[in-house]
């Protein structure tokens, strides 16, 4: 709760600095504010405090995920000065919107009432719609914003309709009350509740970018400014999946039968569509969009197998996915800056002149592909173990086949970097600042891979 207040205040201060056209203090304020929020967020550990009639629940689940979200945003901001170097104006609007989106995502992981879920999602989404179009004079960016807004508001409509039906059936929007109702009526579920749950699930599936509601993702990811894509692909996705997990585990865990099959089909479709489509992409940014879809599918597995340790597994998976994705996007931003293209060819021979960036990218790619001993493997392995422990063997086999396919497209940039000759004439020289940040991300990834057990057993 304090984290949300802090971040909101920081966002307003940022806007204020923008209004008086001061550029210098903007980012330091954001860094300090986010670090402070990160610490304040951890204060309530193991206390499970409820706020406003159980509207907002600060339990270990939400604290852990909020920690991940705040930290990820901090990483995104660390890369912001490099990405926005050519821009002269203070950019207070973009920073403030990212912070407001973060507030929305923090609410999403901690909601105790369906209305709060909706408020969180809308806070996140509305900010993201604007951010997607924040490159005002770029038609692709405008297209992305428009597509995202139209499809996204449609999905929000579904979600709201679903919430209404759930309320109609159970008489409450409180997760705990819905759970009681569900347990009482386990024998014969009213159709209204089943349909309501399905509609909510559709809305959530859209937000995490899972099939069959994933069509917006590639275009929006490709068109948005890369830094915003990074934010969308990490914070947006993790917040949505955490919210979905919370909804399912706290209200509908007892009635697996009414949603398990649907979600399993969604997950299978997501994994296959994501991986198979990424297979054919020559545009690396687009490839990451499909890779993000595929990872949404893997994270859905954690929702399906939501008993036992699945929350911890989801936490580990989110961490491994976000850090690897941010690192990869950071290298992508650098490559794009120098070569002017997102094509896979832009990576040719990168290792020769930029061994550090190439190394970080390699670690990120191998981690996303789930190659041991990196954290991506630990995450996938835990996910599969917890799913298989509850009898989801066919689902896990599909997921493993998906991982198999993914190795090919994740290894392509690696091969381009190490084994192909540079296509351009000039060497890419990165500023010393950037080197530190990329190294930081790579080191984090390796460190995380050393102690995955800690996070799995955390919540």
């Amino acid at each position: 709760m304090y984290a949300i207040i802090t971040i909101s205040i920081v966002a307003i201060i940022v806007l204020f600095f923008g209004a008086i056209e001061k550029k210098a203090p903007l980012l330091p304020v954001v860094y300090v504010g986010l670090s402070l929020a990160f610490i304040l967020n951890l204060v309530g550990w193991n206390q499970s405090v409820h706020y406003y009639n159980e509207m907002y629940i600060a339990d270990n689940f939400s604290i852990a995920f909020n920690g991940v979200l705040i930290f990820t945003t901090l990483l995104v901001f660390i890369f912001a000065p490099v990405y926005y170097k050519p821009v002269k104006r203070p950019l207070e609007d973009i920073y403030a919107l990212i912070l407001f989106a973060l507030v929305g995502s923090l609410i999403m992981t901690a909601f105790g009432n369906l209305l709060m879920l909706f408020v969180g999602i809308e806070t996140l989404s509305l900010s993201l719609y604007i951010l997607a179009g924040s490159k005002k004079f770029d038609p692709n960016s405008n297209e992305a914003a428009m597509k995202y807004f139209l499809t996204g508001s449609f999905a929000s409509g579904f979600l709201l309709f679903g919430i209404a039906l759930l309320y109609g059936a159970s008489g409450s929007m409180n997760l705990e009350a819905i759970k009681q109702y569900v347990i009482l009526n386990q024998a014969h579920m009213p159709g209204m509740l089943t349909i309501g749950l399905l509609l909510v699930a559709i809305g959530m599936t859209f937000k995490i970018g899972a099939a069959p509601f994933h069509f917006w993702a590639p275009d929006v990811y490709e068109g948005s400014p890369t830094l915003i894509t990074t934010f969308m692909a990490t914070v947006g996705k993790v917040a949505a999946i955490a919210a979905f997990f919370r909804l399912m585990s706290s209200s509908f865990a007892e009635v697996e039968s009414i949603w398990k099959l649907t979600l399993t089909i969604f997950a299978v479709a997501t994994i296959l569509i994501g991986n198979l489509s990424a297979f054919y992409q020559d545009n690396v940014k687009r490839m990451f969009a499909y890779s993000g879809i595929a990872h949404a599918g893997y994270m859905l597995i954690a929702v399906i197998a939501l008993k036992q340790q699945a929350a911890g597994v989801l936490l580990l998976y989110s961490m491994s996915y976000t850090i690897a994705t941010i690192t990869a996007f950071a290298v992508l931003i650098l490559v794009r800056e120098e070569t002017g293209t997102f094509s896979i060819k832009a990576f040719n021979g990168l290792a020769k002149h930029n061994p550090r960036e190439a190394f970080a990218m390699t670690i990120a790619m191998l981690s996303l592909a789930g190659i041991p001993p990196l954290v991506g493997f630990a995450a996938k392995y835990n996910l599969f173990v917890s799913a298989i422990g509850q009898g989801n063997l066919p689902l896990v086999i599909v997921a493993i086949i998906g991982s198999m396919i993914s190795v090919y497209f994740y290894i392509r940039p690696v091969i381009a970097m190490y084994a192909k000759l540079p296509s351009g004439t000039a060497a890419i020289d990165s500023s010393s600042n950037y080197k530190k940040q990329i190294t930081l991300a790579a080191v984090l990834m390796i460190l995380l891979g050393l102690i995955p057990g800690v996070f799995v057993n955390l919540i």
């Binding site: 041991p372 599969f384 198999m404 290894i411 091969i415 050393l450 057990g453």
Partner: protein, 474 residues
């Protein structure tokens, strides 16, 4: 603690090499470390034979921190494979005298690979095993993709895809078996061995494991990556692949298929024995017709490892013992063969057999050593392969007489391709490229010392290894 040293020493050394601080001395450093590692392995061998076994086991419960339990231990089979690895890696490192490939990363990758291989051969926990198994793939992939010859990208990616498909199949099997272990579930080998699976469960488990191992070994229908990868890889890469890495697959058969799916193996391993047998003959026949020396080695290797796999799946203790011994012998022999190949290629610049000839008169020392290696590959009595192949055929004979008879043919075919190649390369009139063939230098002779010693040591006095294996096989 010896076991930790075995794993940590090459890992640390490879990390030091990756920093690039050693510059020109990278090769010497790598060589010294690998020799030290061999020393440590000898100590482990001494401890295994004469002292108590306690120091060879390590079990740490790190579930909270690492999410896996670390269980490592060395038994007779592991020890033999560790010996093979630590013996060959110094030879492989020292054999590199290609200036273009004299790169600190190259040696770092070789040592990293050594660490992963030792990990594979010692792990007693499924996930740990799987981690090492995958880790071993990355260095060899990079070695091929970066320092390989023509078409290296396409071929190394093909190799990668093949092995990844196999290992994921294995992962599925591992996860499935995990769910069958009694609660609380465990990934330790012991828990897996105590499963008494019904036949209907053993079949899919067998298929998944067999796919992974058959690709790695490689066995007949899954071998199409092999010849190309050997051909395109730098010689050191080929040595690692043929000498040590393909033993991972065979080792996997010993560790998983034999104890977990005994009924499938007893029932003749489904339809796979005839398929492997076909691969054995097929490899041998192609080897006869192969114009390029390196590709020929690849097909010879395909044929030889097929025999080893037949021995392992013969469901007979002679066959299994012979196969394990032959795993060691084949590693030594094939690396010896690649050494000879490298010497010929460096001196003449070609490996097309018909372009060579008359080397024996120019280089008598080389001719002698090459002949020993060739005869060891043909499985002449008193060389190491004889013992292994004899036992394998004996075992096969007792389990399935038809397969044994056809497999016996390979000894004849082996003599045909080996001696024919040797005759064409070493005798006859000298050709343009072989007239100025220098004989071996002292450094090169030294490279052959460990190879020749192990050829004769195992060939003349195999019983000390076999005794060790007998208890392990039972």
């Amino acid at each position: 603690m010896i076991i930790v040293l075995l794993l940590v020493l090459p890992l640390l050394a490879s990390l030091i090499l990756f920093t690039g601080k050693l510059g020109k001395h990278s090769r010497e450093f790598a060589l010294i470390v690998s020799l030290l590692e061999f020393g440590v392995a000898l100590v482990a061998g001494y401890a295994f034979t004469f002292a108590n076994h306690k120091i060879l086991n390590l079990s740490l419960n790190l579930k909270q921190l690492l999410d896996i339990d670390i269980i490592i231990n060395i038994d007779a089979v592991s020890l033999l494979m560790i010996m093979l690895t630590t013996l060959l890696v110094p030879v492989i490192i020292a054999s590199n005298n290609n200036r273009k490939v004299r790169n600190h990363n190259f040696f770092g990758l070789i040592l990293l690979m050594q660490m992963a291989l030792i990990g594979v051969f010692t792990a007693s926990e499924m996930i740990l095993f799987y981690i090492f198994w995958e880790l071993a793939m990355i260095p060899i992939f990079l070695i091929t993709a970066i320092w390989g010859g023509q078409n290296r990208l396409k071929i190394s990616v093909k190799f990668l895809i093949y092995t990844v498909v196999g290992s994921f199949a294995m992962l599925i099997a591992i996860l499935y078996l995990y769910t069958l272990t009694p609660a609380p579930h465990s990934f330790s080998f012991d828990a897996f061995y105590h499963l008494k699976l019904p036949y209907s469960v053993q079949v899919p488990v067998f298929l998944a494991f067999f796919l992974a191992f058959a690709i790695k070994i490689p066995l007949f229908p899954f071998h199409s990556w092999q010849a190309e990868t050997y051909n395109v890889s730098p010689v050191q890469g080929s040595m690692l692949l043929a000498g040590i890495m393909l033993k991972m697959g065979l080792y996997g058969i010993i560790r998983f298929i034999l104890p977990i799916c005994p009924d499938v193996v007893a029932g003749g391993s489904l339809i796979f024995l005839p398929l492997i047998l076909f691969g054995v003959i097929y490899g041998a026949i192609i080897a006869i017709r192969q114009p390029k020396l390196k590709k020929m080695i690849a097909f010879v290797s395909l044929s030889h490892v097929g025999i080893i796999a037949l021995g392992l799946l013969s469901n007979n203790h002679y066959g299994i013992e012979g196969a394990i011994l032959q795993m060691f012998s084949h590693g030594v022999n094939v690396v010896g063969f690649f050494l000879c190949y490298q010497i010929i290629v460096i001196r003449t610049g070609t490996d097309i057999i018909s372009d060579l000839g008359g080397i024996a008169s120019a280089a008598p020392k080389f001719a002698t050593l090459f002949l020993v290696v060739v005869l060891a590959n043909v499985a002449l009595p008193l060389t190491n392969s004889f013992v292994g192949e004899f036992l394998i055929l004996l075992g096969l004979f007792q389990s399935n007489i038809y397969i044994a008879v056809i497999a016996g043919l390979t000894i004849i075919l082996g003599a045909v391709y080996m001696l024919r190649m040797f005759q064409q390369v070493m005798y006859g009139p000298q050709t343009a490229v072989t007239t100025n063939f220098r004989d071996l230098t002292v450094r090169e002779m030294l490279l052959f010392v460990p190879i020749i010693i192990s050829i004769f040591l195992v060939g003349v006095y195999p019983s000390f290894v076999l005794q060790m294996l007998q208890t392990a096989v039972k």
